[in-house]
């Protein structure tokens, strides 16, 4: 196949995005149809790229002494499957968005920037030239800013914070790339292989790691995700911060940890510590959230911790687990945010205290949400468990005596995740209906339901037959095949589980359930309980934990934003400029004297050298 095919997933969406911007607001269907069409074409192209051997692409753009900008693109096994999923996700979300945005609430820029994001992401995974990589990376960041802003006026604060943090991190990335060029005088990514000896590679690694961390949303640069989720539309959250950003961030992290640099065990340990802290901290904050979107975004942050843990183990199993988890996370996180959007569309709110009892009216959303909740909690046989299991074995294989603490943190994190999602399932779907939930009469339209169900099905599929993605996508990406020390025969387990379910059902049949069942009201002691006050509020579930002695202080600090680097830097910036502000007192004479003094000094220097 011609190498030029690599250009299609990148250039086609970019061009389509520009076209969408030019189309007037009225012609909505054309815009959205175009985005769906382009996403579909990109997905098909990605399928081709995945299944065939594609050589690299090389065009010289400009050369200037040692500095050059080539259009280099290459496809490795890892980028191939990531490309497949990026295009697939954008395709599903664009179909979903068709129904999500109603006639009157229809941001004009949304399809355009979605396409920009698609093109940029595809460019990131295929670029082989660092500067090209950076350009595409920035395109994704900028599109994210605009996409978040489509949520309306309140979204500006979140969008600004996002842009500030990601922009800052991208600046670090740029510095890191610059240092790499300084060390190796080459921009070609696939040729770099820098050993960590001396302080400059370490600094470069850390700078680039910062860029990856901020994009993926691990601690401590995670604080943009919850604030963005406050008012961004759920499909935006689903496609970018939940899935594609993680794919890109982890992609970068894997590249810098395995091929670009050869990291030492101590740097691996740093990654593992970041991972473990992220898992526990983020899930404990998530447990006490009242708003579904914030809760889901904190969980997204927590799951990134697993990926960091896996990469930090520096052995093939852990790496395979991390990559697999990256994939699984994007699938089920996507599904969760899409179901969040479905709920928002039907009820108008995502506040957990105002929802309830939607399981009967929205069965498809309930199924998708339940499946993804079980997947994210790591319940067998879903895909979340398979990837976590691989990561655990990777941790044990490091041979570090202290690695058990990471194992404990990771496993405990999944118990806490389960707790959090039980609260979500109860508050939204089970329990009795609130007045607001009474308004919901029917399920969401198929354009929204089908993407969710496809993703939920993928969760099940990738869990039961985890060898499929493992052998075809992950193993080629790493280059070696993983040898597992434990055993998890998930196909047989799923078969036996199915047999067990049939056993249970047959007991129901033996007892002739159908004939002997009858409906009654709830028994709470004999009196009637009115539905408004007689329901338990899901947000009250974990007040006991919130009020435990040591944790209460931590939660207090978290709510006040003590742990947010954005706030620290904001304060720092304000403090620094306060000093400088005093100098800017607005009087013309003052400025003139400064300028005069500067000119005199300059003349002096020029005179005497």
């Amino acid at each position: 196949m011609n190498a030029n095919i690599l250009l299609i997933p990148v250039m086609l969406p970019l061009a389509g995005g520009i076209l969408c911007l030019l189309i007037p607001k009225k012609v909505r269907w054309f815009r959205e149809g175009l985005s769906i069409l382009i996403a579909a074409l990109s997905t098909i192209t990605a399928f081709f790229i995945f299944f065939r051997e594609i050589p690299g692409l090389h065009y010289n753009f400009l050369e200037f002494e040692k500095f050059n900008l080539h259009l280099d693109m290459v496809i490795s096994p890892m980028s191939a499957f990531i490309l497949l999923f990026i295009t697939g996700f954008v395709f599903l979300v664009s179909i979903y968005s068709l129904s999500y945005f109603s006639h009157d609430n229809n941001p004009k820029e949304y399809p355009a920037f979605l396409l920009f994001a698609l093109g940029g992401s595809c460019g990131v995974v295929t670029a082989d030239h660092f500067l090209l990589f950076l350009i595409f990376w920035e395109i994704v960041t900028v599109s994210l800013y605009f996409l978040i802003s489509t949520g309306g006026k309140d979204a500006t604060k979140g969008a600004t914070k996002t842009f500030a943090m990601l922009g800052g991190a991208d600046g670090c990335l740029l510095l890191g790339i610059g240092l790499c060029w300084f060390m190796t005088e080459s921009f070609t990514i696939s040729q770099l292989n820098i050993p960590i000896n001396g302080w400059m590679p370490v600094i470069a690694f850390l700078l680039m790691m910062t860029g990856a961390i901020a994009k993926a949303g691990a601690m401590p640069f995670h604080t943009w995700i919850p604030d963005a989720s406050d008012s961004a539309p759920p499909p935006v959250m689903a496609v970018l911060p939940a899935s594609i950003d993680k794919l890109l961030g982890i992609f970068l992290l894997v590249r810098i940890s395995t091929s670009i640099f050869i990291i030492t065990p101590s740097l691996g340990l740093v990654l593992m510590i970041i991972g473990a802290v992220t898992i526990i901290w983020a899930v404990m904050v998530a447990m006490v959230q009242h708003d579904l979107r914030r809760l889901l975004s904190y969980h997204a942050i927590s799951q990134v911790g697993y990926m960091f843990l896996g990469i930090g183990t520096m052995n093939p199993i852990g790496l395979a687990g991390a990559l697999f988890h990256m994939l699984n996370n994007s699938i089920y996180k996507n599904c969760l945010f899409l179901s969040c959007g479905a709920i928002k569309k039907r009820t108008g709110t995502t506040n957990l205290a105002d929802l309830g009892g939607l399981a009967k009216v929205m069965p498809l959303t309930f199924t998708a949400c339940l499946v993804s909740s079980l997947a994210i909690s790591g319940v067998p046989p879903f895909n979340g468990f398979a990837s976590k299991w691989l990561i655990y074995q990777g941790i044990l294989d490091t041979g570090l005596k202290g690695s058990y603490i990471f194992l404990i943190a990771a496993m405990f994190g999944s118990a806490l995740t389960l707790a959090s999602f039980l609260k979500v399932i109860y508050s939204v779907f089970l329990g009795s209906k609130t007045r607001q939930a009474e308004k919901v009469k029917k399920e969401v339209p198929p354009a929204m339901a089908v993407p969710m169900l496809i993703l939920a099905l993928l969760c099940l599929l990738f869990g039961v037959w985890y060898a499929l993605p493992l052998d075809n996508m992950i193993n080629p990406a790493i280059g070696t095949s993983v040898v597992v020390g434990g055993s998890w025969n998930s196909t047989m387990a799923s078969l036996l589980m199915a047999v067990g379910i049939i056993l249970g059902l047959s007991i129901y049949l033996v007892g002739r359930l159908r004939k002997s069942a009858r409906f009654v009201g709830s028994f709470i002691g004999g009196e009637k309980l009115d539905s408004e006050t007689g329901r338990i509020n899901g947000t009250h579930f974990y007040l006991t934990i919130k009020e435990m002695p040591f944790l209460r202080i931590l939660y207090d600090f978290q709510e006040k934003g003590f742990f947010d680097p954005y706030n620290w830097l904001g304060k720092l910036g304000a403090d620094i400029t306060r000093v400088l502000r005093k100098i800017h007192n607005g009087m013309l004479s003052w400025y003139l004297s400064w300028s005069l003094a500067g000119i005199v000094i300059l003349l002096g220097i020029l005179f005497f050298t």
């Binding site: 004999g526 309980l529 007689g534 509020n537 009250h540």
Partner: protein, 395 residues
């Protein structure tokens, strides 16, 4: 945050009788408690008016099964107050003996139930096995395990057989070691300390404000006991101690009840050993017009009866006020602020006896207070039956 309301009752493993408690909760914490009574009302006071003074005693002791001596004791004291006579010495001693044995059985019952409510079924079963010994004693003395029919206005109905005294003394001495062991087991258990200490603290000022009675107030340092404050029965002739503690939490209430058991044993033994001879009944034939009041320290607090007579052989008005009636409102002070688990044990700690409490329900509606007479009640129940039949589709 939106408030949630859960109910304890009316049918609940926590209670022996139906009562409705509505707890407003937030998470596990109780913010407010509301009591709705009325499930146990049987019209006892009205029934007394259609019985003679003597027959009324049988109805009155069935107000409650656990404190079934307290009500006749107070009632007969009220009737004797109308006449203005003192019952014979032997009758006083016999009354005291029966009342104190009943106190032992009631406190043992409470201990078992407290264990059950805490999930400590071993204590529950052991204490109730012990209680069987006491019920044997009561059966030997009075002929029945509960509802003894020993009291009548003017004295007691049956005498104590001298042959029974040694049997009773042996039984009562026999339970002492077991009570001692239970006392150590309960008071030294660290988990019980964690569950009971500091829970439902009821301060002295609150006890006086709410007019709490019995062990509920004695746990908070209010030293009131009808047996000490008034001279009746044989209480003023015997040396015994009133148990008062300071902290006012559930643990103290448990301690008081255990220690009072010891005091009751002392009183019973002294009475049996010093039983005077003589008549047991004044043989009253007529009650003059007038009104009288009588009180007795039931295991739960002071039981108060008021009787008015107009010279006929039936009471014109009989008013009953049980101790739980005064102790129930104290829940408003002790329950809010604790968890659901604590609320259940605080509810049990006032040793509630709801069937004693139910005397009259006033319904406040927006149109004003409703008062139903007999015909109204019959009509209401017929309407309800008709609506149930319609709902079930029965013609």
């Amino acid at each position: 945050m939106a408030k949630s309301v859960i109910t304890i009752g009316p049918y609940h493993p926590l209670q022996e009788e139906p009562e409705l408690f509505r707890l407003t909760i937030e998470g596990e914490k109780v913010l407010n408690i509301d009591v709705m009574v009325g499930y146990n009302h049987r019209g006892i006071e009205k029934l007394s008016e259609s019985r003679t003074f003597d027959q009324a005693t049988f109805v009155i002791e069935r107000i409650c099964g656990i404190c079934s001596t307290s009500h006749p004791f107070a009632y007969t004291r009220a009737v004797e107050d109308i006449i203005g006579l003192e019952v014979p010495e032997r009758a006083k001693y016999i009354r005291t003996i029966v009342a104190e044995i009943e106190r032992i059985h009631s406190h043992l019952l409470w201990m078992g139930l407290a264990g059950h409510f805490l999930g400590y079924n071993t204590v529950y079963m052991w204490v109730w096995k012990l209680r069987e010994e006491i019920l044997d004693v009561l059966e030997a003395l009075t002929g029945n395990r509960n509802n003894y029919a020993m009291f009548k206005p003017g004295g007691v109905r049956r005498d104590i057989n001298p042959d029974d005294i040694s049997f009773v003394l042996k039984k009562i001495d026999g339970i002492l070691p077991t009570i001692e062991m239970l006392k150590k087991a309960i008071l030294d258990d660290p988990v019980l300390h964690a569950r009971l200490k500091g829970i439902g603290t009821f301060t002295r000022e609150e006890a006086i404000d709410y007019c709490a009675l019995g062990p509920t107030s004695r746990a908070s340092g209010v030293a009131r006991d009808v047996r000490k404050d008034t001279a009746y029965g044989a209480y003023d002739r015997i040396d015994w101690d009133m148990i008062v503690t300071e902290n006012g939490d559930v643990f103290d209430k448990a301690v008081i009840r255990i220690l009072e058991t010891y005091e009751s044993v002392k009183i019973v033994k002294t009475c049996l050993q010093n039983l005077p001879g003589g008549e047991i009944d004044l043989n009253i034939t007529s009650i003059p017009p007038g009104e009288g009041i009588g009180a007795h320290e039931a295991p739960r607090g002071e039981t108060f009866h008021y009787v008015r007579s107009d010279g006929t052989n039936r009471p014109v008005r009989h008013k009953v006020r049980a101790p739980t009636f005064m102790n129930l409102p104290t829940l408003k002070a002790t329950v809010p602020g604790c968890t659901i688990s604590d609320a259940t044990i605080i509810l049990a700690a006032i040793d509630p006896c709801y069937c004693c409490t139910e005397r009259m329900v006033a319904v406040r509606s927006p149109e004003g207070d409703l008062l139903y007479n007999g015909d109204d009640l019959v009509r209401l129940s017929q309407e309800k039956t008709a609506s149930i039949m319609k709902r079930m589709g029965i013609k």
